[in-house]
């Protein structure tokens, strides 16, 4: 590489400094985040005050509580689980007060649904953390059942149309939770949910019978069709449709059923059967909702507790472009460290969601040494040559120079720059892509490619898939991944 020695390094540094600044968008984003942080800190002070007031037996003025509610409920309280310091505030102060301000039957029912989901979320999170004890489980599940019972009873006072909607949505949500609980081996809770699903299903059908004879306007059916299409698009946009994670596969299946139901509804409209169309759209909505809950609330880190001792990993990362998708590598850690890390990451993912009830559950998957498999596959293709950027890119047309960014060699590291892939070694930068990469470098290479392709590699099949993609020329890869 030709080094042009500048006449005046100081001037060059000053010019470089003036070339770098925050964009207006970045500044606005940072200001917004700062303001949010400032507001959060203020709210925490309210909660601290109330907690203090409780412990010192002061009476907290109702006006204070109302102000607290009106200014919005703190995410930190909603994020609290049994055992956390704010959990008492969440369940004994915030939730009852919020319940008081539900001023219609419909709002009350919706809030009972929300509380049901919250209690179930809490059980899932604790199960995922391996901190769920029998006492908490019984208490939380029984609370969830209590809210479900109130919800179910309250629908009797609602209009059949609204009752169908709320029962349909709750039924779909519970079916999703059934799947999630069975994944964390909570059979008892799964059975309880199944029984409630059956009750809700029966009530929904009864209400659907009531409205089946009623008159539905064509424009109402068409509007419902449009609403369902938008809902479907929204959830499809959030679900990793190419992903092979368990949550993604289940969600994809539900979304396919939703598309069929939507299509059926549109056919009903064409045939003039608007009431039937509404029922089809209601069915579509249930499938979409189930997909949404299964995927958004489901497995991201793919760690099953029973195999955690044999798990291995080098890297876990949240893919910011598709917040529900996480690229992972097999894990090598003590189980408690792994679960702590998973919990930490799950909070990051949860924080990035708009829905306050979103959370993640955690499963460990048995993993093979995928790096050895990767190396073997690479070697078997490049023959007797060393594994270098030159040999790899020659053999695998789908590999890019930037895939070698941060890839170590025995004596240095490859760095991707504006002027190409360079080797940094012995304090200098060389335009040399022929130095063999180290074992750590091989791992980094696999990680870089997997992140670029937005795929995970936990099993042999995953690695074979990635190596298969590496063999395909660039333009073909981009087409197939669309």
């Amino acid at each position: 590489m030709k080094n042009n020695i500048p006449n005046n390094i100081e001037d060059l540094l000053q010019q470089a400094g003036s070339s770098v600044r925050l964009s207006d968008t970045e500044k606005n984003t940072q200001r917004t985040l700062l303001m949010t942080h400032i507001e959060q800190k203020k709210k925490q002070k309210w909660y601290t005050a109330i907690l203090h007031a409780q412990t010192t037996r002061f009476v907290v003025a109702p006006l204070t509580i109302c102000l607290l509610v009106v200014t919005g409920v703190s995410a930190s309280s909603l994020d609290a689980y049994p055992g956390d310091i704010l959990y008492g505030i969440k369940t004994n102060i915030v939730e009852p007060v919020v319940a008081l301000v539900q001023f219609s039957d419909e709002a009350e029912v919706l809030y009972e649904k929300k509380l049901t989901e919250r209690r179930l979320d809490e059980v899932l999170v604790l199960a995922a953390r391996n901190t769920l004890n029998d006492v908490d489980k019984e208490s939380l599940v029984s609370e969830a059942e209590r809210h479900l019972t109130i919800l179910s009873k309250s629908t009797e006072t609602l209009s059949p149309e609204f009752a169908v909607e709320i029962l349909s949505d709750t039924e779909a949500t519970l079916r999703a939770y059934e799947k999630l609980f069975s994944r964390v081996d909570e059979k008892e809770t799964t059975d309880i949910l199944s029984s409630h699903v059956a009750i809700l299903n029966k009530k929904r059908l009864t209400n659907e019978m009531q409205i089946s004879g009623s008159y539905v306007k064509k424009e109402d059916a068409e509007k419902k069709s449009q609403d369902i299409k938008e809902f479907l698009a929204l959830v499809q946009g959030g679900v990793d449709l190419e992903g092979q994670m368990q949550g993604a596969l289940e969600a994809q299946a539900q979304l396919r059923l939703a598309e069929e139901a939507l299509h059926s509804g549109e056919e009903n409209i064409s045939a003039g059967s608007y009431t039937q169309a509404m029922l089809s759209f209601s069915r579509a909505s249930r499938f979409i909702r189930e997909a949404q809950v299964v995927f958004n609330t489901g497995v991201y880190l793919a760690i099953r507790p029973q195999t955690v001792e044999r798990a291995t990993t080098d890297s876990i990362r949240v893919n910011d472009e598709a917040p529900v998708a996480i690229a992972i590598a097999p894990i090598k850690k003590e189980s408690s460290e792994l679960v702590n890390e998973a919990t930490m990451l799950s909070k990051q993912v949860t924080a990035s969601f708009a829905q306050e009830t979103s959370m993640v559950s955690v499963e460990v998957i048995d993993s093979e040494d995928v790096y050895e498999i990767f190396k073997t596959l690479i070697k078997s293709n490049i023959g007797n040559y060393e594994i270098t950027p030159v040999s790899v890119m020659k053999t695998f047309p789908g590999v890019r120079p930037e895939d070698f960014n941060n890839v170590n060699t025995e004596h240095g590291v490859y760095i991707m720059t504006e002027i190409g892939l360079l080797l940094q070694a012995n304090g200098s930068l060389e335009n040399d892509n022929t130095e063999e990469i180290s074992e750590a470098g091989e791992r980094q290479l696999l990680l870089n490619i997997a992140l670029r392709l937005k795929v995970e590699f936990v099993t042999r099949t995953d690695v074979e898939y990635i190596v298969g993609i590496m063999k395909i020329k660039e333009s073909s890869i981009e087409t197939s991944l669309e």
Partner: protein, 167 residues
């Protein structure tokens, strides 16, 4: 009312210093995304400090010190955790909103790489002197060092850069 004024003053501090802190972080860690996070964290921590009623005598020095501590933590995490190995070492290295366009992208890449190869504390001294535009005395106040020490670091840092270019 007092809280509102504090908030207002703080946002003015952000408006005044955000570019400088970002630039500083960017040249220290050679990664735009990391620099953005470090800048955000710097001001968050500054707010946490002032909102507890603590006084700051020299705001600029304080904010630079906070940023410096965060950068040190960043270096430590990078060394000890292989989990961060996937972070790009050289991120988006040219400011897409550079209106002046005073430096060609290739030149900017090269100087960034050279600065990246400098050892600390010379890198810090060179960045604060020529990128941040601080005098050795100001740098010394911020880092609580002697001005002579800072001058020596700056000089050695520039010499190292020369050597890197000559190689």
């Amino acid at each position: 009312m007092e809280q509102n004024k504090l908030q207002q003053d703080f946002l003015e501090i952000y408006n005044e210093l955000s570019d400088a802190i970002f630039k500083h972080c960017f040249f220290r860690v050679s990664n735009r995304e990391a620099a953005l996070d470090l800048t955000q964290d710097t001001f968050t921590k500054t707010w946490d400090f002032v909102s507890k009623g603590n006084d700051i005598h020299d705001v600029r020095a304080f904010v630079y010190r906070v940023a410096n501590n965060l950068i040190i933590d960043f270096y430590r995490k990078k060394k000890s955790q292989s989990l961060d190995a996937y972070l790009e070492e050289v991120g988006d290295i040219a400011d897409t909103h550079n209106q002046e366009n005073t430096l060609h992208r290739a030149e900017l890449s090269e100087i960034l790489l050279k600065v990246r190869l400098l050892e600390e504390p010379y890198r810090q001294a060179v960045v604060m002197r020529y990128v941040d535009g601080l005098s050795p005395k100001e740098i010394a106040e911020i880092l609580k060092e002697q001005p002579n020490t800072i001058s020596v670091r700056i000089s050695r840092g520039v010499q190292q850069l020369q050597t890197l270019y000559e190689k």
